[in-house]
Amino acid sequence: MTLAESITNYAASTGQEASAHDEAAFQLIYDATARPLWAYLLRVSGRRDVADDLLQETYCRFLGRKAGGSELAMNEAETRSYLFRIATNLLRDRWRHGESAFDGDEQGELIVDVASAGEDPAAKMDVRRVMQALKPRARQLLWLAYVEGMSHTEIAEATGLSALSIRLLLFRARRHAAGLLKPGTMETR
């Protein structure tokens, strides 16, 4: 069964009781989306524990939507986009409720295993630090636009901002990030 088929089957299946068929379909969706979703949650929140929590919460909400009776059939891209929208809302809820730890890794909560980071650990540390130097909203916009390849309209739907605001905020965020990514910039900060 392909991912697209599993999404269609999953959306089409009915009944309150979870069937084995539903679970198998969910597994395919999960396997295809959990890693990128977790990476997004981690980079925006800056904390592994928050990313883990919100990943689970995102899928609970996703499954809850189906149980709520919405039988909206979605394709693969829409499902992925929908999951990112849920995750974005959950992140927003977190920082509305005063999750101050979003801005730092001073408590050793953050994340990247530099030793296993591959061929250029310094470059990877730079990306991490660049993201930390940005505001959570800017991190979100950059990730959704440049990693997930979402359009301004899709980002607007996910974040609840207007497409015009996205344009301006994304421009500023990109400018800021590009400045920080220039060699030597982070060391002087």
Partner: protein, 152 residues
Amino acid sequence: MNAMRCGYENETIRALQTGAWSETLINHRKSCAACREAEVVAKALRQDASDLAAQHTPPPSALVWAAAERHRRMAALARATRFLRVLQIAGVIYAAVLVVWGLHSLAGHGGMILPGLDAKSLNATIEGVGLAVLFVGSGLWYALRRDERRIS
């Protein structure tokens, strides 16, 4: 060209994803600082994203599925017990009104408010109050007892 966003930016990001750079896009990239900047940022972030995704092993889907099921059951339970809670509140209000009314009636029997209440009516009133207390009390006891059991 708009200083904020180049019309080719989306195509540049898409080309980064697919690796399909058209001739026009390659030529444009040479002259567009905004697209080059977007490319630098996008490349760095995408590399980071793929490294993170490679490092992380998400919890098994069965675990998440089970958590979602628990979540779903809790939500269903909360919906189902909402009616019981309304009944509990209504029961408490009813009992309070009944007590006030009973006291009022008894006071009236003493000649202050309801002088027409004779011994027969008083007996009927007391029986009525007794029955009401029995029914309301047993209903409340049952509902509250179920809550306690669930909490423990």
